[in-house]
Subunit: 319 residues, 2 copies
Amino acid sequence: MRLATLRNARPDGELVVVSADGARYLSAPGLNLISAIADWDAALPMLGRLSALLETGAGGHLDPARIMAPMPRSWQWLDGSAFATHGELMQIAFNLPPVDRERPLMYQGMSDRFYGPNDAIPLPSEADGIDFEGEFGVIVDAVPMGVTAEEAASHIKLLVQINDWSLRAIAPVEMKTGFGWIQAKPPCSMAPFAVTPDELGADWANGRIGADLSVTWNGERFGLVRGDQMGFSFPELIAHAARSRDLVAGTIIGSGTVSNAEYATRGSACISERRAIEMIADGKPSTAFMAFGNTVRMEAITSDGRKPFGAIDQKVVSA
Amino acid sequence: MRLATLRNARPDGELVVVSADGARYLSAPGLNLISAIADWDAALPMLGRLSALLETGAGGHLDPARIMAPMPRSWQWLDGSAFATHGELMQIAFNLPPVDRERPLMYQGMSDRFYGPNDAIPLPSEADGIDFEGEFGVIVDAVPMGVTAEEAASHIKLLVQINDWSLRAIAPVEMKTGFGWIQAKPPCSMAPFAVTPDELGADWANGRIGADLSVTWNGERFGLVRGDQMGFSFPELIAHAARSRDLVAGTIIGSGTVSNAEYATRGSACISERRAIEMIADGKPSTAFMAFGNTVRMEAITSDGRKPFGAIDQKVVSA
């Protein structure tokens, strides 16, 4: 099942179920995704009935201009950095402390706004080192403190695709404090559709999304990276996050930048990683960060050629 | 004006205006604090009329058992560490990088739950180094990206008093990653009343709260610290936070642990700081962290002897 959120007068928008071809939708009356996930066992059968109706050809035309992020705001966004290759490249290039393979990396990011897939992204300055980060995420229902990774798997209700906007000139300054990022992490964007895990078919396995993520910068292919090389699975990330807190329903857990051992052929999902590869190879980076007016497109492709999340396709503009 | 939130069937509770003596209240029909702050210009006159009614003796008996945090959840909690003395003591004791006096320290904390002033605090293990942090905070309405500190002052609508629970055995492990805290920062608690700045009288000046904060651990005075020694004011913290993002209405900005240059006579607002002082003086800490069953009480006292926020008074329990 594929869900989207359409713009209406309310900040959380209107929850809709979308047809397999992404062309038609039916509204879930009175629901938004954050209310639905809070009572998922009640919402799911109703959403399933709408999905079945769509298969009969029912539903209205889905206007892309109305599509917001599937969850335009959430109470919590916890982003991991679970791809070992990315961590190692950054560690070598920037002389960071060794990567801890026993303990996931994770930060708490702003969650009060997620941009829609085609929103313009207003940022204050090109000098901040504007970068994209293509990643996957999961949305959970309420998770109790102390959950194990085994137990955590059943709390994953939806999968999403995310662009974690990052300002690389600020990131190391904030990182050095140990306090994590504020200025270096403006709002993220989400692809149009949040999907139930069964939509991924064989590409949802071992708590990881195995689909390819295509990343295109100003129309040129930048990376075609696969999501299954996470050093920690999503259930392991959830268990890490819930060590000393209950996770509120609607919490979004991110994978961090998708990154592959085969980066030489597959490319990268963020500019910073390409620059790190250049620094390691040549002693200095040669790829510049984004300029105002630049565009980025991100689209996941399953092993059987489907595009379950739809595409992020957006432009950076001066705030 | 003093506001509180009473427990009802909804997660955001019921917003009420409280009399000057804290004994009576009148409900703000249909409002909670997060909805009120989103349309503060409309809410304020109505709340003011309720406050005037309370002065005539109207209102019901305020049952302390129903009191939640004034804002039981928020879309965003950004906690500073603005007291220079605290930063310097931690820097010396733990051999951290020098404190940057030009740039505020700030992390994004979990905001989906704030405990009420008398809630029991469930935590997973005494071995985590359970600590309190007495601090002040402000609640803002919508703040645009790029706001200056001068402009930010007018966005401060309410003042609050906070206990930022911290797990000190985990904190340095997470800090070392540069990603900030997840496991080391379970939900915070709030004192009963959010107050408009005029309630502080002369103790609200220069964007700082000048009141004393009394901190009592298991019934013994631990600190009587004053809030006006912030190295950065609240408006400066807001401007820092809004460098690359709009701040959503209801964002709470924290001061960090209140700390004074006169710590030898005034004490501290967290155990970690006392331990740092011991480490500097004696080479090792002698004060242990909290045990299950321990209590902490925190209460601000204005220079004219009032207690505008009421008291946090709560017990740590095994989760």
